[in-house]
C-alpha cells in the first residue's frame, strides 16, 4: 500500500486545530486510518483532545470519548468490558500523551494491562506537557529546557532522566508492546497491524515531535523524529510477553549532537561547560541504548536505511527473514 493510500478513512479528519508540523496530529492520523472507523476511541486529556474537539466541534468520524486526564485506560477497560459477549470484536483504542501515560495515567494503565483487557493503548510522546504550555514531564529527557525545568545559573534544564516507560510496560508481560515514530510509516503500520491482530492489552509508544515545545522548524518534525531513532536515543523495538523480539537496526549511528542542534529545547547546552557535559551524558545514554538493544548488530534486514526506501513498497515489520535488500526500493513507483 502506498503511503498516499493510507488515509482513506479520515478517522481524524481535516479542520482540527493542531499547530503546523504537530507530530501528534500526524501520528494520530496515521494510527486512526490504520485502525479504521470500526473501533471505539478513548482519549486522555491533552493536546489531541483539545485540538480535535474544540468547543462543540469534532474532528473525529468515529465513536470517541474523553473523560478526565488520568483515567483513559480505565474508561477503555470499561468500554471493552461492555462490549464483551456481544459477539463482535470492536477494537478499543486509547490515545494519550506522555502525561496521560508516564505520569498521571500510569496507575490506570498498569491496572488495565494487569487485568488483561483487550485494549490497544497508544501513547503519543512529545516529551513534556505541551497542552499547558511546555512543562516538564517524567518523559522529558534530561537537559531539556521546559518552563518548569528552566536552565539558569544553577541549572542546565531538566535534571532527571526520561522515564523508561517501555520497560515498565514490558514488565507486565503483556502480549505486545512496541515503539514507533512518524518518520517510519511502514514500521508504524506494521506495528499497528500486528497489534490489531493480537488479543489482550497492547501498548504502542509513538514518539511525536512538538515544534512548539521542542522549538524546531515545523517543517522538520519528521526529520527530528528520524534523528531520534538514528542517534539511538529512541530505539524502535517490539516486545512480546516482556521479551524483546525485534529492533530496527541502525544503518549508521548519527551523533546525538545532530539531533540536539535542530531543537531550541537543547540550545542552552551548547553555551557552557556544564551544558556540554550534559550533551556528553545524552550521547552516553544513546550509546547505552544502542548496546542494550543491539541496534548496530541486530540480525534483521530491516534497518533505518531500508525502512526509508522500503516505504514505497509498503514493506514493514521485522518478522520477515528475507526482503528486498536495501536500495531495491529506489525504483519503486
Amino acid at each position: 500500500m502506498d503511503r498516499r493510500d493510507a488515509f482513506r478513512h479520515n478517522v481524524l479528519t481535516a479542520g482540527h486545530r493542531a499547530c503546523s508540523g504537530c507530530g501528534e496530529a500526524m501520528a494520530a492520523r496515521m494510527v486512526g486510518d490504520l485502525i479504521g472507523p470500526d473501533a471505539i476511541y478513548i482519549n486522555a486529556t491533552g493536546c489531541l483532545q483539545v485540538f480535535t474537539t474544540h468547543n462543540q466541534q469534532t474532528a473525529w468520524q468515529v465513536p470517541w470519548i474523553h473523560s478526565v486526564f488520568a483515567n483513559a485506560a480505565a474508561v477503555a477497560a470499561g468500554v471493552e468490558a461492555a462490549l464483551r459477549g456481544r459477539g463482535k470484536a470492536t477494537p478499543v483504542v486509547v490515545q494519550a500523551g506522555d502525561g496521560g501515560t508516564f505520569d498521571i495515567g500510569l496507575q490506570c494503565l498498569s491496572g488495565m494491562i494487569e487485568r488483561g483487557h483487550d485494549v490497544l493503548f497508544v501513547c503519543y510522546d512529545n516529551e513534556a506537557y505541551m497542552n499547558t504550555g511546555v512543562q516538564r514531564s517524567s518523559s522529558t529527557p534530561h537537559g531539556v529546557r521546559t518552563t518548569t525545568s528552566p536552565p539558569g545559573r544553577l541549572s542546565q534544564g531538566k535534571h532527571e532522566l526520561k522515564k523508561d516507560v517501555i520497560s515498565i510496560i514490558a514488565a507486565h508481560h503483556l502480549p505486545y508492546a512496541a515503539t514507533a515514530t512518524i518518520a517510519y510509516f511502514p514500521d508504524l503500520k506494521a506495528k499497528v497491524e500486528k497489534a490489531l491482530g493480537i488479543e489482550g492489552p497492547r501498548f504502542l509508544h509513538v514518539l511525536s515531535p512538538c515544534p512548539l515545545g521542542w522549538a524546531h522548524d515545523s517543517a522538520l518534525s519528521v526529520t527530528v523524529s528520524r534523528l531520534a531513532v538514528e542517534t539511538g536515543l529512541f530505539p524502535l523495538l517490539e516486545l512480546e510477553h516482556g521479551e524483546l523480539t525485534g529492533v530496527m537496526r541502525l544503518a549508521e549511528q548519527k551523533p546525538v549532537r545532530d539531533y540536539l542542534r535542530l531543537q531550541g529545547r537543547f540550545r542552552h547546552l551548547f553555551d557552557s561547560k556544564e551544558g556540554l557535559e550534559e550533551i556528553r551524558h545524552l550521547q552516553a545514554l544513546a550509546d547505552t541504548r544502542i548496546r542494550r538493544y543491539g541496534l548496530l548488530d541486530a540480525e534483521t534486514t530491516w534497518d533505518t536505511h531500508s525502512a526509508m526506501h522500503g516505504a514505497r513498497h509498503g514493506r514493514g515489520g521485522y518478522a520477515r527473514a528475507a526482503g528486498p535488500a536495501a536500495g531495491e526500493g529506489n525504483d519503486g513507483s
Binding site: 473501533a39 474508561v75 496507575q107
Partner: protein
C-alpha cells in the same frame, strides 16, 4: 420472598435483580460485603456480568463510566476516602449525563481515619450532579436500587444510593426480595441513545467554552428539577407494584399537629420514630421528617410539610467546619425563600460512628432552647477539655 440478610447482601441481591452487565469496584470498609457478594454471584453464574477488580476507586468509577458510555448497565460501590478518590470522575459522569447507579456505604472521612458511619463523604459530593437518595432501612436500600436504575435511565442522571455504613451495611434484617420477573416488569432493559457505537459515531466529552458551557450546566439543573416529579412517580409506581413506597423525596412521621419537627437523613430515622412515639404518648406535639432525597433538594415539599411547625431541629451527621451543617443551611434557605420565619436549629451529631441514642434525640426534641445562631451545637455533648491533640 422474605429473607434474613445483611444490608450489604440485600443490596447485592437488588443489584443482581437489575441485571447490570458490568460491575467494577475497589474494596473499602464498609462497602466490601456488597462487592464480595456480587463477585460471588458472577462466579456462580447467577449474574451475567463482567466483574472487574479495579486498581483504585478512581479506576472503578472510570471503568463504569466507560461501560455505561458503551451502553451497558453498570454498578459500583464505595465509601469515604474511596468516594473522594472518585470525585473527579463522578463530576464527569454527571456532566456527561450518564445513567449510572452507585452505592455509597456512608463512612467518616480522614484524618483521623475512622471506618464508622457519618455522612461527610456523600455530603462532600452533593454538588457533583448526582441524585442522592439516603435510605433508612435495608428494605429501602433494596427497593431504592431498583428504583434508581429506572430513575437514572429515564432522566439521564447518575444516582447515588447512600446507606449508613455498618448501621445498615452490616446489620441483618428481614428483607423482601422481589421476584426477577417483577423487577423486569418494573425496570425496562437499558437502551442508551448516545452509546459509543461505530454504526453511529458520536463524540462524548469534547470541549466547550464560554458561549455554551453554561447551557450544559443549566441543562443539568433542569434535569434535576425534572427528576423531582420522576422520583415521586417512580416511587409511587413501585408502591403500586410491590406494596412498598417511601414518600418519594420526603418521608414524614407523625407530622399532624406537630409543633416541633426533627429533620434527619438515613437510618437515624428509625430511632427518631421511637422517640417521637414516646413523646407523643406523653402528650408532646412532636414529629419527624426524613429527607430521602438530598439531591435534588426537596425545597417545595419541605415548605409544605413544615408549614405548621413552630420549631424545627435539623440533626445531621456532617458539617462544614467554620460554617455549620449543610442540611440545616439548605432547610433554612428553602423556608426563608418561601417567607417562613420559623427558626431552624442546627445540630451536628453522630460523627465517626458516635451513637445517637434515644436519650440524646429526646433531649433535642424536648429542649425549648431557642435557635442558637452563635455556636454550633454538637450532640451528644462532646469533650472540649481533654480533647485529643492532633499529632
Amino acid at each position: 420472598m422474605r429473607r434474613l440478610l445483611e444490608g450489604s447482601q440485600a443490596v447485592a441481591e437488588a443489584v443482581r435483580l437489575c441485571r447490570p452487565r458490568v460491575v467494577a469496584a475497589y474494596p473499602i470498609t464498609p462497602q466490601t460485603h456488597i462487592i464480595e457478594r456480587l463477585a460471588q454471584h458472577v462466579a456462580d453464574g447467577e449474574l451475567e456480568a463482567e466483574f472487574i477488580s479495579a486498581e483504585s476507586e478512581f479506576g472503578a468509577a472510570s471503568l463504569v463510566q466507560g461501560a455505561v458510555a458503551a451502553g451497558a448497565r453498570s454498578f459500583t460501590a464505595t465509601a469515604s476516602q474511596g468516594l473522594l478518590l472518585m470525585t473527579e470522575v463522578l463530576y464527569n459522569i454527571a456532566g456527561m449525563r450518564l445513567p449510572l447507579v452507585m452505592v455509597c456505604a456512608n463512612r467518616a472521612l480522614s484524618a483521623p481515619i475512622n471506618i464508622f458511619c457519618d455522612h461527610q463523604d456523600s455530603m462532600a459530593l452533593r454538588d457533583a450532579g448526582w441524585i442522592q437518595i439516603y435510605v433508612e432501612s435495608n428494605q429501602e436500600a433494596v427497593d431504592s436500587v431498583i428504583q434508581a436504575y429506572r430513575l437514572a435511565e429515564a432522566c439521564e442522571l447518575p444516582v447515588m444510593i447512600c446507606m449508613d455504613g455498618f448501621l445498615l451495611t452490616h446489620t441483618y434484617e428481614p428483607v423482601v426480595l422481589p421476584a426477577q420477573s417483577a423487577v423486569d416488569e418494573y425496570l425496562p432493559a437499558f437502551h442508551f441513545a448516545r452509546a459509543l457505537d461505530p454504526a453511529r459515531p458520536m463524540t462524548l466529552g469534547g470541549g466547550s467554552e464560554a458561549d455554551n458551557y453554561q447551557e450544559y450546566r443549566v441543562a443539568q439543573q433542569r434535569a434535576m428539577e425534572n427528576a423531582e416529579t420522576v422520583i415521586e412517580a417512580f416511587d409511587a409506581e413501585f408502591g403500586e407494584q410491590f406494596g412498598r413506597h417511601y414518600g418519594g423525596m420526603l418521608q414524614g412521621y407523625r407530622l399532624e399537629g406537630a409543633e416541633t419537627v426533627l429533620l434527619v437523613l438515613g437510618s437515624l430515622m428509625g430511632t427518631v420514630r421511637d422517640v417521637v412515639d414516646g413523646l407523643r404518648e406523653r402528650g408532646q406535639a412532636v414529629g419527624a421528617l426524613r429527607l430521602r432525597c438530598f439531591r435534588p433538594f426537596p425545597a417545595q415539599g419541605l415548605v409544605r410539610l413544615l408549614a405548621e411547625a413552630r420549631r424545627i431541629v435539623v440533626l445531621e451527621k456532617a458539617f462544614s467546619p467554620g460554617a455549620g451543617g449543610m442540611l440545616a443551611a439548605e432547610v433554612r434557605a428553602a423556608l426563608q425563600q418561601a417567607g417562613s420565619m420559623t427558626p431552624v436549629e442546627g445540630v451536628i451529631g453522630g460523627l465517626g460512628g458516635r451513637d445517637l441514642t434515644p436519650d440524646v434525640i429526646e433531649a433535642l426534641l424536648r429542649d425549648g432552647t431557642p435557635a442558637d445562631t452563635g455556636t454550633l451545637r454538637f450532640a451528644p455533648a462532646h469533650r472540649e477539655q481533654g480533647a485529643p491533640s492532633h499529632g
